[in-house]
Symmetry: C2
Subunit: 145 residues, 2 copies
């Protein structure tokens, strides 16, 4: 099954990058400021809003480890997203944190998947900017493309 | 075999985006300003320089069609790149140009591939910025990550 994989290096401690990916407050600074609702704990669900009354995606949190793993399974949202899994694997390297991001188990390598691949890279660079300069570019401040 | 695929929409005519991807002058505005050498014609080779005396990659041009296709095959460069193929497929959509980029036939989904995936998305947004605002972020002006 085709996967999206990105690697981005961030000049910030792993603990801080983990907070940015694991908490609703953190996620709102780099992915969507329009709303992250639910409880961020293993087995719970998070709803992500992007300008619509309904969430664009609902993720079940399948792993949340402060050692540097955050995993979600998409349970509601775009047809092509439902059933896919998302992993943020964080690792210390020198004084930086390596983020290995995987959005896996797409059924087909569609044009929408290619769109999402570029979008994820953009938002991971938003995460980097948030960590390094205190300001990301989450929706709706994101570049549209 | 794992592939990198990105889709980016650019507010510029297809002919202009094609020039930016098909010519040495164009490529130097969004990928590398450090040097693109050789002849840009089908069957020829282009050398791409990134701050070293040796080219970081040598690509054989396997397709060059003004209808919107530019294809390369990597013949020299990083071990993991040699033998891979790169395609820029351009399509008109309303008044914009859709760029579907594929870097295909990687042997393994390595961490280096994930790095290159995020890098390609970054440089495709550099291409977009060059087309829309007249200024890209090619090497060495690129963000390092």
């Amino acid at each position: 099954m085709p996967d999206i994989r990105h690697r981005v290096v961030i000049s910030a401690p792993l603990e801080r990058v983990y907070e940015a990916v694991a908490t609703k407050e953190g996620i709102s600074e780099w992915w969507t400021r329009d709303g992250v609702e639910g409880e961020s704990s293993e087995g719970s669900r998070l709803q992500f809003f992007f300008g619509q009354p309904e969430p664009a995606a609902v993720m079940e949190i399948t792993r949340l480890s402060p050692y540097g793993q955050v995993s979600w399974k998409c349970v509601e949202g775009a047809d092509e997203w439902v059933g896919t899994t998302l992993d943020f694997d964080l690792a210390n390297k020198d004084d930086e944190t390596v983020v290995l991001f995987t959005h896996a188990d797409w059924r087909e390598p569609t044009e929408f998947m290619a769109h999402c691949s570029a979008r994820w890279a953009y938002f991971l660079l938003s995460l980097k900017s948030y960590q390094e300069f205190g300001k990301g570019t989450p929706f709706p401040e994101d570049l549209k493309f």
